[in-house]
Amino acid sequence: MLSSIKKYCFRKFRDSETKRHELNYLFWECTRRCNLNCLHCGSDCSKESIHRDMPAEDFFQAIDTIENIPQNFTVVFTGGEPLLRKDLEFCGKELRKRGFKWSIVTNGYLYDKQRHISLLNAGIGALTISLDGLKESHNWLRNNEKSFDKVINAIELAASSKRINFDIVTCVNQKNINELEQIRDLLILKNVKAWRLFTIIPIGRACHNSDLSLTDNQFVQLLDFIVKCRKSKEIDVKFSCEGYVGKYELLVRDSYFFCRAGINIGSILIDGSISACPNIDRAFSQGNIYTDNFYEIWKNKFQLFRNREWTKIGQCKSCEEYKDCQGNGFHNWHGEKNNVLVCHNGKVENAMKVKNLLH
């Protein structure tokens, strides 16, 4: 009964947020260059990119169109690897002058003491660092034998600062699914407070490697691990908001699934495209900062994000969970868009069916 009331209220809340459509969170794909060549990269980034880094002034010209800056508005630098930009600190300071907060998503390889200090000086407030396993499995996925040592150094630096609200993200795959407990212990040892676990969606380079996807049983193993960790409360562990997980909702995160892409989350991509999260199919771009007024596009477009009825197709068409899932995370709609790429709840249900049959 209580659970039904909570769910009902949450749906109402989600509808009101969708109608409100307030921009709180803006990704800036500031570079497509990357110093690593990860096996799972959803953006197909590499050392050389056909795209030049977006000039800072172009980005600022676009965001200066934003009216009535909402409270807690954050710009998240993403890439590629944002630390490859030498003007990152300048950009950060300019954002703070305008009253914006800012943060970065990094693979940690270039995050040394000097960079840590200069980022703090420039007013960084939050940080996400990727750690994808113990030494061997992390270096395998990151395709670099020094990557693990570098990222551990970055984690130690981030953990030494009370100023930065940071978390660790791990892409769970065939190689690291059985070392999650050891990774958790390592993070606790390094004084990490928050850890988010992902699965890998088969887009970009990740399409070409079957070791990256979890089986249905492994996916449930991952969710059960998160439930167990959350009970022990030694570290704040959660499943990312990548997808709806049915009966595991609220057991693996603090709130119900709500894909806010295009509802509260926008992005300015490397070529000036205006979209939502950067891993969303670029065919969904709503405009371009080089030809349109950014904030006008945010206010007046994004209908496909705000009304997701069009996702009632393929396996979502007759799904009983649709009103809570609404077609899963938006980044699960690529290519022809005739069906959702991954149904997380479907994986849970399939694993449960098999388990019941065996019993």
């Binding site: 949450f10 990704f27 993403t78 943060s103 939050a126 978390d167 709500f258 806010r260």
Partner: protein, 121 residues
């Protein structure tokens, strides 16, 4: 205003605590803004001229910056009840020789601007 109240009520009813503090799935956590901007200028007490190359650091913390040609410095520091800033001449006699100085900041409710005068050695 009315909308905000309604939002708060719905938030309470759904008994989930973090609906307004979200993070994108491939993004970072929210920044809770726990810092303040510290700016200022360092001059010679005797001549009144700006001093370049003075190290401005936060005590018990690895953060520091150096003053520029105009003796100016600017950085964000972690918010706390009290902060000790240390001004040190670290470039030998390259820009003159000055006595180090510590300044304790106690009113950290808003951004800070400091005029610092260093004595010559």
């Amino acid at each position: 205003m009315k909308r905000n109240v309604i939002r708060k009520i719905i938030e309470g009813l759904s008994l989930t605590s973090v609906m307004f503090v979200f993070q994108a799935c491939y993004g970072t956590p929210q920044d809770f803004g726990l810092d303040l901007l510290i700016e200022g200028q360092v001059k010679s007490k005797a001549s009144g001229l700006p001093i370049k190359g003075i190290k401005v650091s936060v005590a018990h913390n690895m953060q520091y910056v150096q003053t520029d040609e105009e003796g100016k410095f600017s950085f964000y520091a972690e918010a706390s009840k009290e902060l000790t800033l240390r001004f040190q001449d670290i470039d030998s006699d390259q820009n003159g020789l000055y006595v180090d100085k510590d300044t304790v900041l106690t009113d950290l409710s808003k951004n800070v601007y400091l005029d610092i005068a260093l004595e010559e050695k």
